[in-house]
Amino acid sequence: MTRTARIAGYIVVLWLGATANFLLPRLLPGDPVDFLIGDDAGRLTSAQRTAMLAQFGMDRPLIEQYRHYMSSIARLDLGTSLAHGKPVLKVIAARLPWTLLLVGISIILAFVIGFVLACLFHWVERARTSSALMCTVVFFGSLPPFWVGMVAIAIFAVALGWLPTHGAASLEEGITCGSVFRHALLPVATLTLGYIPSVFLVARASLEDALGEGYVALARSHGATPLRVLLRQAAPIALRPLVNQFAMSFGVLLGGTVIVETVFAYPGLGLLLYEGILALDFPLVQGVFLLLVFSVVLANIAADILQVRLDPRLRSGLDATT
């Protein structure tokens, strides 16, 4: 694919994402006034309801709302959150660091552990041990995150009293490194545990491919030990497919924080999104989803660039087609 075609593709994906993002909340029955007024929303006159919707620009025809929405995005204006009464960008900015902390650490840990386990899988040549390793990893990855989170709370917070049950930092201590670290441990562990298997499976397959290459056979014939072959010859090549997965995982994990943050009452984007959906807070939900779409597309662009840097053959292929 040419570079121009790729850029056009990204733009189309962004536009489609933004459009779906606009339409989806509006396909739900009801409107945010029900949330703002509660049980008594039914008694509002249509004039009162329209006046309330007008405060948030939701009284206009759909096409006009869409036009306004797209032009606002261009100005980085994501509207005003109904539940918070503040600009969406400001609300998101306050929560984003907490989620980046969870997701950032979880991605790194999941990749390191998943890759090490894949190497271990190939290094341990006994079939029974390899199968046990595979089953264990897949088993833990299949556990529902909310259940893992609750079990972790029951063991490490309630029974042992080692770690806090909820929140991002101690209320009494405030935001200190120690407090933030302790509060992040269980949510990070829950997120990481859920993501290790997919890293493990991709790494295992790419290591298997790499180990079948001719240069690996050559290294073996020169008397290299299996561990040296694995780490020096196969592992660097096997890392390349993981770059794409690394980029994709950002979006997946960002979405996955909804459950983990709700279980641990962690004040990040996931919990914000969940509350926004409950409240039919269209501007907020749109803002968070838009951020997800942008971050996934940006991560893919970064992965493309990185792939080219890691594999010179791709660069020449690209140059040849441009």
Binding site: D31, D34, F35, I37, D39, P164, L171, E172, V263
Partner: protein, 527 residues
Amino acid sequence: MRSRLVAAGIGLFACLALPGFAAPLRVAVAYEVTNLTPYTPGLPETLLELVYDKLAAPSPYLGNAQPWLATAIVPEGQDGKVWRIELRDGVRWHDGKPFTASDVVFTLRYYRDGTPNRWTHHVSDTPKLTTIEPIDRLSLRIGCERPCPMFDRVTAADLVILPEHLWRSVKEPHLYHGPLIGTGPYRVSQLEAGRFLRLEANRDYFGGIPRVTSIFISFIRNPATAFAALCAGELDLVAAPVPPELVDPLSHRKALAMTAGGNSPVFGVELRVNFDRAPFSDPEFRRALALAIRPGEVLQRVALGQGVVGPFPALASPWTKPGLRQPSDDPRAAAAIFDAMGFRDRNGDGLREDTHGAPLRFSLKVSSSEPLHQRAAQVIARQLKAVGFDIEVDVVDPARSRALYTTRQFDLLIDDVTPHNLADPDQLMQSVMYGYLWHEGRSYPELDALIGQWRIASTVEARTQAGFALQELHSKAPVAIMLYYPKSHYAYRPQAYDGWRPIPGLGVFHKWSLLEFAGGVPAWAKP
């Protein structure tokens, strides 16, 4: 060394000087506190009233409201339309400005004429205030469009008063982010949406001395996490009822104590029937439906027997007709009515069909965030199957459940019903006019006549009797079939604070639990 001694001395003096508990009290709530004004969606009145006050207290639910910010709320004339309100002298807002009649006049007008919120219909509709005029610095007069004999014990106990000097220029109150200033026993010290709200005691509070000097209120949506945090010693109170299955385990934990009462019995779980859709639009069909349901079994299976069954509205409310009964527990009678109406099983498949041969298949909506409601839905589906219905339980997300209800896109739906709808006599009229129990204007001559009587009733007694007649009419063919009134238990750490006072309709986390009353504890605040 010297400075340490001085610091220790100051600390000791501070501890002795404070009347209550110096350590911050840690409380979890199940809703996110994004702001703290009457326009903040989803906030319960109990949290608002830690910071703000109402003219009368504690609530409109039990008929025991007494003047609070007011010293007297007295009717003028015989028609029940005009009231004179005298206010306390010497009350100050948290920023030091004096509280006067102009604040009350401003607030009532702002609620009546401005952007609606959950409470504003109490001055803009039922009742509708036509005149709100100051008399002097500490008194005012209000006039209602129609008789408003409940003004002193219902309306005055429903609305928190706002400071005019901060709210005068606010055009879009849902977007207000100015200082959160009230006259209440606690001041807002810090608010971090999604994390916590910190309140500090107002030492100059007119209504008594706050016994706890500082409160951290954190938001935990997941009840399992909240109660785990309580067990782990990270919280001192979870301000939500303990789920039935946790009552026993938590009551055996050494560091915890439990108090019962609070919301019950003015908080319940009900089956809502969409009277806009056939065949539920037929009163006879609704009566048979209610007869087919056995609420006692729902209570046993869902709430593990912790609670009581009873009619709509609330059992314990003085505004509920004594001896009111909801048709129930008679599937045979239900079957006979369905037969007589032509809903019979014509093809022997165990399902009733209507006169056109269509089987009686209905959906029962229930929110995915309410596991107890889901259990109740299964029990109801089975009970209705026994009389020949096919009920499909449809679990939907909470926002969709709410939207389906407000847009009337449901057959049957299970939801909580709050004290506001169960025990507020003015709200009963709102309910029959605006869609919860009926729509005004939809043909129901018997109901229209009763609404007319209610509106012209100019005394508390006449208004109460008119309310009783409405309740009786509703009970004959209910659209809100009460399933049960759960007994609310609240778990807390007594070593942190042991002064919780359960008040029906308010739970335990309210200002009346946190005050050292100057003249002794009022009767309504006693557990």
